[in-house]
Amino acid sequence: MRIEIKGVHFRYFQEEEEVLKGVNMTIRDGEFAALVGHTGSGKSTLVQTINGLLKPTQGKVFLDGQEIGKDISFKEVRRRVGLVFQYPEHQLFEETVFLDIAFGPKNLGLEGEELKRRTRRAMEFVDLDYESLKDRSPFGLSGGQKRRVAIAGVLAMEPELLILDEPIAGLDPQSRRRLLDQIGALNSQHGISVLLISHRMEEAAVRAQRVMVMNKGEIVLQGTPGRIFEGREKLLEIGLELPPLTDVLWQLKEKGYPLRTDLFTVEEVAREILQCWGGFRCSKISP
C-alpha cells in the first residue's frame, strides 16, 4: 500500500499558526520509513491526517491513488492504516488481555474463531505468550508488556501500514531493543509497511530504509539514514542530534582523520575506524 500526502496544511485554530505548512510525503509499499523531528515539529499531527483523525485544512491524502475521505472512507482507511499513539498502554481498558486486543477486530465485525486467530497472531507478533497471558488483566502486566499488548491491539486489525508514534519512549533499554527488533521483523518477515516516529535520530535511523526529517511543519530532509547524517549542520541547526557513533566519526574527521561519516551501527563504525587505524589512511594516529 502506498500513501501519498500532497500539499497538506493544518491548523488547530483559525487564529493560530499552521502546524503543517504544505507537507508532501510518500510512504512506499513495504518500506520501513522513519519520521524524525523535534517536539512540536508537527509529526504527530501529520500522521493523524493519514487516517482521517484530523482533516487537513488544505491538501489531500491518497491511499493507493484513492483520496481519503472521498474515494475511500475513513473507516476503511483506519482498518488498513494502524496508528499506535504515544504511550498506547494508557488506552488499555478491558478486563483481560484477550478482550483488549480483540477490541479492534470486533469493531470490524469479526467474531469467533477468526477473532481468536487474529488475537493469537497479533500476540505472537509482539512476542506475548497467548496461553499464559490471554486471561490476565492488562493492568497487572509490566510496562513493556502493557505497551506490547497495546500494539498487538492495533496489529490485530491486520493493517497494511503500521504507524508508531514514539513507540519506545519510557521503556528500559532491553525492552526498547526488543520492541524495535519486533517492529523490524513485522516489516521484513510479514511485509507490513512501517512508519516510525521519533525525536531521536539513533532510534529511528538504525532500522529505517528511509528517513524524513521534519521541522516547523515542513519536511526539510529526506533520504537514506547515511545521507541524512551527511547533513549534520542542518540537523544541528534544527536541534536534532546525530546518533552518538556517527557523531564520533564526525569529530574524528574534524580532527583530520579521513573517515566516512554516513555510518551508524557499531559494526560499521568499528570497522571503519579499525581500517583507518591499521591502514595508511590514518598514519597520523600511528605511534
Binding site: N51, L83, F85, F103, N107, L108, F139, V154
Partner: protein, 263 residues
C-alpha cells in the same frame, strides 16, 4: 468535541469588575441571587437585567460571550417555561385547545422562572469569568474560615476546588487523546441508540479514570515532597485587602436588590 466546555473559564481583562476583591464578588453574587428569588414584578426583572448589562459593560467582556454560556442550560430554561405555561393555573384562560389549557398565571410564572434561571446563570458566569480560579478559591476559603470553629475543613475544600479546576483542561486533553486512539481502533462514538452509545463510552472512560487516579497519585506525592500538610500556618503571597471600590460595589448592589424587591 470537548472544545465548547466553559466551566470555570476565566478571561483576563483589566477592568473594574476584575479588580474587585474576590470575597466581595462572591458576597455580591450571593446577594444578587437571593434578590433574584425575591423579585415578584416585571419591572423588577427588567431592572435586574439592566443591572447585569451594566456590570458586563464594566467588566469589558462581550455580551455574546456571556450569552453563549447560556447554551448548555437552554433546555432547562425552555422546559421550565413550557411546564409552567401548560400546568400552572390561575387568572384568565388565554388559550384552550383540546387538552391544552394556558392560563395567565401559568404564562407569567413561566416567564418569570425562565428569566430567573437565565439571570442566575449570567450572574454566576460573570463571577467565574472575571475571577481567576485561584482568586475564587482564596476568596471562598477566607469566607468559609469562620466555620473552622465547628471543624469545617475550609482550607481543604478550597484546595480540592483549586485542584479540580486546574485539572479540567488536562483531563479534557487526555479524553481527546484516548478518544482518538480508540477511534483509530475502529471504535464508534457517534452512532447507535442511547444505551449503545453509553456502552461505547467504556473504552474512553476506563482509561480516563485510570489516568485521573495516576495523576492524583503523582500530585499527592509532589505535595508531600514539598511538605504540604494542610492549611495550618500557611501564609499568602497576595493578601486580600478590601478597597473602597469593593464597599462601593457592595452598596450599589444592595441598593439595586432592595430596589427591585420593593418595586
Amino acid at each position: 468535541m470537548f472544545k465548547n466546555i466553559t466551566i470555570g473559564q476565566y478571561i483576563a481583562r483589566e477592568s473594574t469588575v476584575h479588580e474587585l476583591d474576590p470575597r466581595m464578588k462572591i458576597i455580591i453574587t450571593l446577594i444578587l441571587i437571593v434578590g433574584l428569588f425575591l423579585i415578584g414584578s416585571f419591572w423588577g426583572f427588567l431592572f435586574m437585567a439592566a443591572y447585569i448589562m451594566f456590570l458586563i459593560y464594566f467588566s469589558r467582556l462581550s455580551l455574546p460571550l456571556l450569552v453563549r454560556g447560556l447554551k448548555p442550560v437552554i433546555f432547562i430554561i425552555l422546559f421550565t417555561l413550557f411546564i409552567h405555561i401548560l400546568f400552572t393555573r390561575g387568572g384568565e384562560v388565554l388559550l384552550e385547545w383540546r387538552f391544552i389549557r394556558v392560563e395567565e398565571g401559568g404564562l407569567f410564572t413561566g416567564l418569570f422562572m425562565a428569566t430567573r434561571i437565565a439571570l442566575l446563570i449570567l450572574f454566576t458566569s460573570l463571577l467565574t469569568l472575571t475571577t481567576s480560579p485561584i482568586q475564587l478559591t482564596d476568596g471562598l476559603e477566607t469566607l468559609m474560615s469562620p466555620l473552622k470553629v465547628v471543624k469545617f475543613p475550609a482550607h481543604e475544600l478550597a484546595m480540592m476546588m483549586t485542584i479540580a479546576l486546574r485539572f479540567i483542561p488536562t483531563l479534557l486533553e487526555e479524553a481527546e487523546k484516548i478518544l482518538k486512539a480508540q477511534k483509530a481502533r475502529g471504535a464508534d462514538f457517534e452512532s447507535g441508540n442511547l444505551l449503545r452509545r453509553a456502552q461505547n463510552l467504556i473504552p474512553l472512560l476506563v482509561p480516563l479514570f485510570l489516568s485521573a487516579f495516576r495523576r492524583a497519585d503523582d500530585l499527592a506525592a509532589a505535595l508531600e515532597a514539598r511538605c504540604y500538610r494542610g492549611g495550618v500556618g500557611r501564609t499568602r503571597m497576595k493578601e486580600l485587602v478590601l478597597k473602597r471600590s469593593d464597599w462601593l460595589a457592595l452598596v450599589i448592589s444592595l441598593l439595586v436588590v432592595v430596589g427591585v424587591i420593593l418595586i
